[in-house]
Protein backbone atom coordinates (compact mmCIF):
# COMPACT_ATOMS: atom_id res chain seq x y z
CA UNK A 1 0.00 0.00 0.00
CA UNK A 2 2.83 2.37 0.87
CA UNK A 3 4.37 1.77 -2.51
CA UNK A 4 1.08 2.53 -4.17
CA UNK A 5 0.72 5.77 -2.26
CA UNK A 6 4.26 6.78 -3.06
CA UNK A 7 3.67 6.12 -6.74
CA UNK A 8 0.47 8.12 -6.67
CA UNK A 9 2.09 11.03 -4.91
CA UNK A 10 5.16 11.20 -7.03
CA UNK A 11 3.30 10.97 -10.30
CA UNK A 12 1.14 13.90 -9.26
CA UNK A 13 3.77 15.95 -7.59
CA UNK A 14 5.72 16.22 -10.79
CA UNK A 15 2.70 17.27 -12.76
CA UNK A 16 3.74 20.86 -12.93
CA UNK A 17 2.63 22.74 -15.92
CA UNK A 18 4.50 24.90 -18.30
CA UNK A 19 2.57 28.13 -18.31
CA UNK A 20 5.40 30.57 -18.83
CA UNK A 21 4.07 31.71 -22.17
CA UNK A 22 0.86 33.61 -21.95
CA UNK A 23 -0.69 33.38 -25.36
CA UNK A 24 -0.76 30.15 -27.24
CA UNK A 25 -3.59 27.98 -28.41
CA UNK A 26 -4.23 24.51 -27.05
CA UNK A 27 -3.71 22.88 -23.67
CA UNK A 28 -1.17 24.28 -21.27
CA UNK A 29 1.93 22.14 -21.81
CA UNK A 30 2.17 19.39 -19.28
CA UNK A 31 5.33 17.71 -18.19
CA UNK A 32 4.16 14.99 -15.90
CA UNK A 33 6.17 11.92 -15.21
CA UNK A 34 6.46 9.34 -12.51
CA UNK A 35 9.24 7.87 -10.43
CA UNK A 36 7.53 4.59 -10.00
CA UNK A 37 5.48 2.47 -12.31
CA UNK A 38 3.16 0.04 -10.67
CA UNK A 39 1.57 -2.58 -12.82
CA UNK A 40 -2.24 -2.45 -12.97
CA UNK A 41 -2.42 0.81 -11.07
CA UNK A 42 -4.78 3.38 -12.53
CA UNK A 43 -4.28 6.93 -11.42
CA UNK A 44 -7.08 9.40 -12.06
CA UNK A 45 -6.44 13.04 -11.44
CA UNK A 46 -8.47 16.16 -11.92
CA UNK A 47 -6.91 19.62 -11.87
CA UNK A 48 -7.83 23.24 -12.25
CA UNK A 49 -5.16 25.52 -13.69
CA UNK A 50 -5.19 29.28 -13.70
CA UNK A 51 -2.82 31.56 -15.54
CA UNK A 52 -2.66 35.36 -15.62
CA UNK A 53 -0.53 37.54 -17.88
CA UNK A 54 -0.34 41.31 -17.88
CA UNK A 55 3.29 42.32 -18.35
CA UNK A 56 4.90 43.19 -21.65
CA UNK A 57 8.55 42.37 -22.10
CA UNK A 58 11.02 43.51 -24.71
CA UNK A 59 13.95 41.13 -24.56
CA UNK A 60 14.51 40.61 -20.85
CA UNK A 61 13.11 43.96 -19.69
CA UNK A 62 9.54 44.82 -18.81
CA UNK A 63 8.13 47.73 -20.81
CA UNK A 64 5.01 49.86 -20.86
CA UNK A 65 3.06 48.81 -23.90
CA UNK A 66 -0.60 49.55 -24.25
CA UNK A 67 -2.13 46.85 -26.39
CA UNK A 68 -3.46 43.91 -24.39
CA UNK A 69 -4.32 44.78 -20.82
CA UNK A 70 -4.28 41.17 -19.68
CA UNK A 71 -4.88 37.61 -20.70
CA UNK A 72 -6.05 34.79 -18.46
CA UNK A 73 -7.37 31.29 -18.56
CA UNK A 74 -8.98 28.71 -16.30
CA UNK A 75 -8.43 25.21 -17.53
CA UNK A 76 -9.94 22.02 -16.11
CA UNK A 77 -7.95 18.90 -16.84
CA UNK A 78 -8.59 15.18 -16.44
CA UNK A 79 -5.57 12.88 -16.55
CA UNK A 80 -5.45 9.11 -16.55
CA UNK A 81 -2.31 7.06 -16.06
CA UNK A 82 -2.19 3.30 -16.15
CA UNK A 83 0.64 0.91 -15.42
CA UNK A 84 0.28 -1.54 -18.27
CA UNK A 85 3.29 -3.54 -17.13
CA UNK A 86 5.91 -2.90 -14.50
CA UNK A 87 7.86 -1.00 -17.18
CA UNK A 88 5.25 0.67 -19.37
CA UNK A 89 2.83 3.35 -18.32
CA UNK A 90 0.07 4.70 -20.55
CA UNK A 91 -1.11 8.28 -20.13
CA UNK A 92 -3.94 10.44 -21.37
CA UNK A 93 -4.98 14.03 -20.77
CA UNK A 94 -8.02 15.98 -21.77
CA UNK A 95 -9.00 19.45 -20.78
CA UNK A 96 -11.63 22.12 -21.08
CA UNK A 97 -11.08 25.86 -21.09
CA UNK A 98 -13.73 27.22 -18.75
CA UNK A 99 -12.61 30.70 -19.65
CA UNK A 100 -9.84 31.85 -21.94
CA UNK A 101 -10.03 35.57 -22.33
CA UNK A 102 -8.07 38.67 -23.17
CA UNK A 103 -8.83 42.32 -22.49
CA UNK A 104 -7.52 45.15 -24.63
CA UNK A 105 -5.82 48.17 -23.12
CA UNK A 106 -6.57 50.70 -25.86
CA UNK A 107 -10.24 49.90 -26.36
CA UNK A 108 -12.87 48.75 -23.89
CA UNK A 109 -13.37 45.31 -25.37
CA UNK A 110 -12.52 41.75 -24.50
CA UNK A 111 -12.44 38.42 -26.27
CA UNK A 112 -13.53 35.22 -24.63
CA UNK A 113 -13.24 31.62 -25.72
CA UNK A 114 -14.17 28.40 -24.00
CA UNK A 115 -14.35 24.75 -24.94
CA UNK A 116 -12.48 21.52 -25.31
CA UNK A 117 -8.70 21.66 -25.75
CA UNK A 118 -6.52 18.94 -27.24
CA UNK A 119 -6.43 15.23 -26.42
CA UNK A 120 -3.00 13.98 -25.38
CA UNK A 121 -2.10 10.29 -25.43
CA UNK A 122 1.27 8.91 -24.48
CA UNK A 123 3.40 6.29 -22.87
CA UNK A 124 6.43 6.13 -20.63
CA UNK A 125 8.98 3.32 -20.51
CA UNK A 126 10.93 2.45 -17.39
CA UNK A 127 14.25 1.99 -19.18
CA UNK A 128 16.86 2.02 -16.46
CA UNK A 129 16.82 1.34 -12.76
CA UNK A 130 20.00 1.31 -10.69
CA UNK A 131 18.91 0.15 -7.25
CA UNK A 132 22.23 0.78 -5.53
CA UNK A 133 22.49 4.34 -6.80
CA UNK A 134 18.72 4.79 -6.64
CA UNK A 135 18.53 6.27 -10.10
CA UNK A 136 15.83 5.66 -12.69
CA UNK A 137 15.53 6.81 -16.29
CA UNK A 138 12.18 6.75 -18.07
CA UNK A 139 11.82 8.03 -21.64
CA UNK A 140 8.39 8.51 -23.13
CA UNK A 141 6.40 9.94 -26.00
CA UNK A 142 3.14 11.85 -26.22
CA UNK A 143 0.97 12.83 -29.15
CA UNK A 144 -1.53 15.71 -29.09
CA UNK A 145 -4.68 15.48 -31.17
CA UNK A 146 -6.49 18.74 -31.96
CA UNK A 147 -9.99 17.51 -31.22
CA UNK A 148 -11.24 20.67 -29.53
CA UNK A 149 -12.70 24.00 -30.58
CA UNK A 150 -10.68 25.87 -33.20
CA UNK A 151 -13.36 28.06 -34.77
CA UNK A 152 -14.80 29.93 -31.81
CA UNK A 153 -16.48 33.23 -32.52
CA UNK A 154 -17.13 36.39 -30.58
CA UNK A 155 -20.11 38.13 -32.17
CA UNK A 156 -19.31 38.53 -35.88
CA UNK A 157 -15.60 37.85 -35.42
CA UNK A 158 -13.90 34.46 -35.69
CA UNK A 159 -11.34 34.56 -32.89
CA UNK A 160 -7.65 34.62 -33.83
CA UNK A 161 -5.66 31.39 -33.65
CA UNK A 162 -3.84 32.27 -30.42
CA UNK A 163 -6.98 32.41 -28.27
CA UNK A 164 -8.70 29.31 -29.65
CA UNK A 165 -9.08 26.48 -27.09
CA UNK A 166 -7.55 23.84 -29.36
CA UNK A 167 -4.11 24.24 -30.90
CA UNK A 168 -5.41 23.03 -34.28
CA UNK A 169 -2.19 21.07 -34.72
CA UNK A 170 -0.89 17.56 -34.11
CA UNK A 171 2.09 17.60 -31.77
CA UNK A 172 4.81 15.13 -30.95
CA UNK A 173 6.27 15.34 -27.48
CA UNK A 174 9.31 13.16 -26.57
CA UNK A 175 10.17 13.14 -22.86
CA UNK A 176 12.81 11.81 -20.48
CA UNK A 177 12.40 11.58 -16.74
CA UNK A 178 15.45 11.00 -14.53
CA UNK A 179 14.93 10.44 -10.83
CA UNK A 180 17.32 10.15 -7.94
CA UNK A 181 16.60 9.14 -4.39
CA UNK A 182 19.03 9.36 -1.51
CA UNK A 183 19.59 6.55 1.02
CA UNK A 184 18.16 7.29 4.48
CA UNK A 185 17.01 10.67 3.31
CA UNK A 186 13.60 12.26 2.98
CA UNK A 187 14.85 14.14 -0.04
CA UNK A 188 14.47 13.03 -3.63
CA UNK A 189 15.21 14.75 -6.92
CA UNK A 190 13.99 14.55 -10.47
CA UNK A 191 14.79 16.04 -13.80
CA UNK A 192 12.30 16.12 -16.61
CA UNK A 193 13.36 16.97 -20.15
CA UNK A 194 11.01 17.28 -23.06
CA UNK A 195 10.48 18.69 -26.53
CA UNK A 196 7.39 19.60 -28.47
CA UNK A 197 7.26 19.52 -32.25
CA UNK A 198 4.10 20.73 -33.96
CA UNK A 199 2.75 19.92 -37.35
CA UNK A 200 2.09 22.92 -39.59
CA UNK A 201 -1.57 23.97 -39.64
CA UNK A 202 -2.54 24.06 -43.30
CA UNK A 203 -6.01 25.49 -43.66
CA UNK A 204 -7.62 28.12 -45.84
CA UNK A 205 -7.29 30.47 -42.91
CA UNK A 206 -3.67 29.97 -41.91
CA UNK A 207 -0.41 28.15 -42.63
CA UNK A 208 0.98 28.37 -39.14
CA UNK A 209 3.62 26.37 -37.35
CA UNK A 210 4.24 26.74 -33.64
CA UNK A 211 7.89 27.14 -32.72
CA UNK A 212 9.53 24.03 -31.29
CA UNK A 213 9.39 23.96 -27.51
CA UNK A 214 12.20 22.60 -25.29
CA UNK A 215 11.76 22.22 -21.56
CA UNK A 216 13.89 21.23 -18.59
CA UNK A 217 12.56 20.83 -15.09
CA UNK A 218 14.64 20.21 -12.00
CA UNK A 219 12.73 19.35 -8.87
CA UNK A 220 13.51 18.58 -5.24
CA UNK A 221 10.93 16.86 -3.06
CA UNK A 222 11.06 16.69 0.69
CA UNK A 223 8.86 14.21 2.50
CA UNK A 224 8.14 16.15 5.65
CA UNK A 225 5.72 13.56 7.00
CA UNK A 226 4.08 10.36 5.86
CA UNK A 227 1.31 12.42 4.27
CA UNK A 228 2.84 15.75 3.41
CA UNK A 229 5.41 16.33 0.70
CA UNK A 230 6.93 19.65 -0.21
CA UNK A 231 8.50 20.37 -3.56
CA UNK A 232 10.43 23.12 -5.23
CA UNK A 233 11.19 23.14 -8.94
CA UNK A 234 13.06 25.23 -11.42
CA UNK A 235 11.38 25.09 -14.78
CA UNK A 236 13.15 26.34 -17.88
CA UNK A 237 11.61 26.51 -21.31
CA UNK A 238 12.69 27.82 -24.66
CA UNK A 239 10.39 28.21 -27.62
CA UNK A 240 11.66 28.84 -31.13
CA UNK A 241 10.06 31.45 -33.35
CA UNK A 242 6.84 30.48 -35.06
CA UNK A 243 6.32 30.44 -38.82
CA UNK A 244 3.38 31.63 -40.83
CA UNK A 245 3.09 31.21 -44.59
CA UNK A 246 6.75 30.13 -44.61
CA UNK A 247 7.86 33.38 -43.01
CA UNK A 248 9.40 33.47 -39.55
CA UNK A 249 7.37 35.48 -37.05
CA UNK A 250 10.18 37.48 -35.48
CA UNK A 251 8.28 38.55 -32.37
CA UNK A 252 7.43 35.08 -31.13
CA UNK A 253 9.22 32.62 -28.87
CA UNK A 254 11.74 33.19 -26.14
CA UNK A 255 13.21 31.76 -22.96
CA UNK A 256 11.55 31.58 -19.57
CA UNK A 257 12.57 30.40 -16.12
CA UNK A 258 9.96 29.75 -13.44
CA UNK A 259 10.20 28.82 -9.79
CA UNK A 260 7.46 26.38 -8.84
CA UNK A 261 6.87 25.62 -5.16
CA UNK A 262 4.37 22.83 -4.61
CA UNK A 263 2.95 20.58 -1.97
CA UNK A 264 1.06 17.36 -1.91
CA UNK A 265 -1.04 15.89 0.87
CA UNK A 266 -2.29 12.32 0.99
CA UNK A 267 -5.75 11.77 2.39
CA UNK A 268 -7.53 8.57 3.30
CA UNK A 269 -8.47 6.03 0.62
CA UNK A 270 -5.58 6.94 -1.68
CA UNK A 271 -6.80 10.44 -2.41
CA UNK A 272 -4.06 13.01 -2.89
CA UNK A 273 -4.39 16.77 -2.94
CA UNK A 274 -1.72 18.74 -4.71
CA UNK A 275 -1.11 22.32 -5.57
CA UNK A 276 1.58 24.52 -7.06
CA UNK A 277 2.28 28.09 -7.94
CA UNK A 278 4.43 29.19 -10.87
CA UNK A 279 6.45 32.35 -10.37
CA UNK A 280 8.44 33.69 -13.32
CA UNK A 281 11.97 34.66 -12.34
CA UNK A 282 13.53 35.25 -15.76
CA UNK A 283 12.06 36.05 -19.16
CA UNK A 284 13.81 36.86 -22.39
CA UNK A 285 11.44 37.14 -25.32
CA UNK A 286 11.98 37.87 -28.99
CA UNK A 287 10.76 41.40 -29.67
CA UNK A 288 7.81 42.64 -27.63
CA UNK A 289 5.47 40.09 -26.05
CA UNK A 290 2.91 39.79 -23.28
CA UNK A 291 4.31 37.48 -20.61
CA UNK A 292 2.97 35.44 -17.74
CA UNK A 293 2.69 36.98 -14.29
CA UNK A 294 1.79 33.88 -12.31
CA UNK A 295 0.11 30.52 -12.62
CA UNK A 296 -1.67 28.34 -10.10
CA UNK A 297 -2.72 24.74 -10.08
CA UNK A 298 -4.86 22.68 -7.74
CA UNK A 299 -5.72 19.04 -8.16
CA UNK A 300 -6.99 15.89 -6.58
CA UNK A 301 -6.09 12.38 -7.58
CA UNK A 302 -6.87 8.83 -6.65
CA UNK A 303 -5.11 5.61 -7.40
CA UNK A 304 -6.79 2.28 -7.95
CA UNK A 305 -5.10 -1.08 -7.98
CA UNK A 306 -7.30 -2.68 -10.62
CA UNK A 307 -6.45 -6.27 -9.71
CA UNK A 308 -7.76 -5.71 -6.19
CA UNK A 309 -11.10 -4.24 -7.24
CA UNK A 310 -13.86 -6.52 -6.13
CA UNK A 311 -16.69 -7.32 -8.55
CA UNK A 312 -19.89 -5.44 -7.74
CA UNK A 313 -22.09 -8.45 -8.56
CA UNK A 314 -21.46 -11.89 -7.14
CA UNK A 315 -20.77 -14.29 -10.04
CA UNK A 316 -22.99 -17.01 -8.54
CA UNK A 317 -26.16 -14.97 -9.03
CA UNK A 318 -25.61 -14.62 -12.79
Amino acid sequence: MKKLLLTAFISISISNLSLAQCCSAGNPSTNNGAFGLSKNVLNVSSSILHSYSDTYFKGNQSIDWNYLKNMRFNFAMLSLEYGLTSKIKLTSEMGYFIDKSLRYGFIDQKRKAFGLGDLVLGFQYHLYNNRSRMITISPGMKVSFPIGAFDQMNGNIILPVDIQPSSGSFKLNPTVLITKQFPSSKLSASSFLSGEFSQRINTERTHYKYGNLYRANLKLIYQSSEKLNLGIALHFQHRNKAENKNEIMQYTGGSYLDLQPSFSYTLKQNYTLNTFIGIPIYKNVNGIQLTNKYSLGFGISKSFHLKTLKPQIAPDIL
Binding site: M153, N156, P160, M249
Partner: protein, 119 residues
Amino acid sequence: MKVVSLVLAIFGLAFLSSCDKENKENVTTEKPTIISLTSDKTQIKYGSSEPAKLKCTASGEDLNYIWEVDFGDLFIINSDGSEVQFTASPCCMGEKRISCEVSNGGGKVTKSIIITIIE
Protein backbone atom coordinates in the same frame (compact mmCIF):
# COMPACT_ATOMS: atom_id res chain seq x y z
CA MET B 1 -72.46 22.99 -31.03
CA LYS B 2 -70.79 26.21 -30.00
CA VAL B 3 -67.78 24.27 -28.78
CA VAL B 4 -67.51 22.38 -32.08
CA SER B 5 -67.69 25.65 -34.02
CA LEU B 6 -64.99 27.15 -31.83
CA VAL B 7 -62.71 24.14 -32.28
CA LEU B 8 -63.26 24.21 -36.07
CA ALA B 9 -62.49 27.93 -36.12
CA ILE B 10 -59.22 27.40 -34.20
CA PHE B 11 -58.15 24.56 -36.52
CA GLY B 12 -59.08 26.71 -39.52
CA LEU B 13 -56.96 29.59 -38.28
CA ALA B 14 -54.08 27.26 -37.51
CA PHE B 15 -54.32 25.78 -41.04
CA LEU B 16 -54.35 29.19 -42.69
CA SER B 17 -51.45 30.29 -40.54
CA SER B 18 -49.39 27.22 -41.55
CA CYS B 19 -50.18 27.84 -45.25
CA ASP B 20 -48.94 31.38 -44.85
CA LYS B 21 -45.75 30.09 -43.24
CA GLU B 22 -45.20 27.57 -46.04
CA ASN B 23 -45.67 30.29 -48.61
CA LYS B 24 -43.10 32.41 -46.83
CA GLU B 25 -40.65 29.49 -46.73
CA ASN B 26 -41.12 28.88 -50.42
CA VAL B 27 -39.98 32.38 -51.25
CA THR B 28 -36.37 31.88 -52.28
CA THR B 29 -33.82 34.29 -50.92
CA GLU B 30 -31.17 35.28 -53.39
CA LYS B 31 -27.57 34.55 -52.55
CA PRO B 32 -25.82 37.77 -51.48
CA THR B 33 -23.20 39.47 -53.61
CA ILE B 34 -20.14 41.27 -52.25
CA ILE B 35 -19.79 44.46 -54.24
CA SER B 36 -16.52 45.51 -52.64
CA LEU B 37 -14.20 44.97 -49.70
CA THR B 38 -12.10 48.06 -49.08
CA SER B 39 -9.61 49.32 -46.53
CA ASP B 40 -8.42 52.85 -45.90
CA LYS B 41 -4.87 51.51 -45.49
CA THR B 42 -2.96 48.66 -47.06
CA GLN B 43 -0.19 48.86 -44.48
CA ILE B 44 -0.34 49.61 -40.75
CA LYS B 45 2.14 49.70 -37.88
CA TYR B 46 1.72 47.14 -35.12
CA GLY B 47 0.03 48.48 -32.00
CA SER B 48 -3.13 50.49 -31.67
CA SER B 49 -2.05 53.88 -33.04
CA GLU B 50 -2.87 53.33 -36.72
CA PRO B 51 -5.85 51.01 -37.16
CA ALA B 52 -7.11 50.17 -40.62
CA LYS B 53 -10.82 50.58 -41.28
CA LEU B 54 -12.38 48.01 -43.54
CA LYS B 55 -15.78 48.08 -45.21
CA CYS B 56 -17.57 45.15 -46.79
CA THR B 57 -20.31 46.32 -49.15
CA ALA B 58 -22.81 43.67 -50.17
CA SER B 59 -26.24 43.39 -51.72
CA GLY B 60 -29.03 41.03 -50.71
CA GLU B 61 -31.59 40.53 -47.98
CA ASP B 62 -31.04 39.73 -44.31
CA LEU B 63 -27.28 39.91 -44.56
CA ASN B 64 -25.03 38.56 -41.85
CA TYR B 65 -21.34 39.49 -41.82
CA ILE B 66 -18.55 37.34 -40.39
CA TRP B 67 -14.96 38.56 -40.30
CA GLU B 68 -11.82 36.46 -39.98
CA VAL B 69 -8.06 36.85 -39.76
CA ASP B 70 -5.57 34.28 -38.48
CA PHE B 71 -3.57 36.71 -36.30
CA GLY B 72 -4.55 40.24 -35.35
CA ASP B 73 -7.60 41.90 -33.87
CA LEU B 74 -10.82 42.92 -35.58
CA PHE B 75 -13.46 45.12 -33.95
CA ILE B 76 -16.93 45.73 -35.38
CA ILE B 77 -17.55 49.48 -35.66
CA ASN B 78 -21.06 49.77 -37.10
CA SER B 79 -24.45 48.31 -36.30
CA ASP B 80 -24.85 45.75 -39.10
CA GLY B 81 -21.30 44.39 -38.80
CA SER B 82 -20.20 45.45 -42.28
CA GLU B 83 -17.35 47.66 -41.03
CA VAL B 84 -14.41 46.73 -38.83
CA GLN B 85 -11.27 48.20 -37.40
CA PHE B 86 -8.08 46.13 -37.64
CA THR B 87 -5.04 46.32 -35.39
CA ALA B 88 -2.33 43.83 -34.49
CA SER B 89 0.16 43.19 -31.73
CA PRO B 90 3.88 42.91 -32.59
CA CYS B 91 3.62 39.14 -32.98
CA CYS B 92 1.70 39.48 -36.16
CA MET B 93 3.97 41.40 -38.52
CA GLY B 94 3.72 40.52 -42.19
CA GLU B 95 0.88 40.07 -44.64
CA LYS B 96 -2.50 39.31 -43.11
CA ARG B 97 -5.43 38.08 -45.18
CA ILE B 98 -8.69 39.44 -43.79
CA SER B 99 -11.89 37.78 -44.98
CA CYS B 100 -15.43 39.05 -44.99
CA GLU B 101 -18.10 36.38 -45.33
CA VAL B 102 -21.62 37.53 -46.13
CA SER B 103 -24.49 35.12 -45.76
CA ASN B 104 -28.26 34.87 -45.77
CA GLY B 105 -30.83 32.11 -46.38
CA GLY B 106 -29.71 31.88 -50.02
CA GLY B 107 -26.08 31.09 -49.32
CA LYS B 108 -22.79 32.76 -48.53
CA VAL B 109 -19.93 34.50 -50.31
CA THR B 110 -16.48 35.47 -49.13
CA LYS B 111 -14.02 38.12 -50.20
CA SER B 112 -10.53 38.78 -48.85
CA ILE B 113 -8.11 41.66 -48.68
CA ILE B 114 -4.42 41.78 -47.69
CA ILE B 115 -3.11 44.23 -45.12
CA THR B 116 0.55 44.32 -44.16
CA ILE B 117 1.62 44.86 -40.56
CA ILE B 118 4.97 46.60 -40.23
CA GLU B 119 7.23 47.62 -37.36
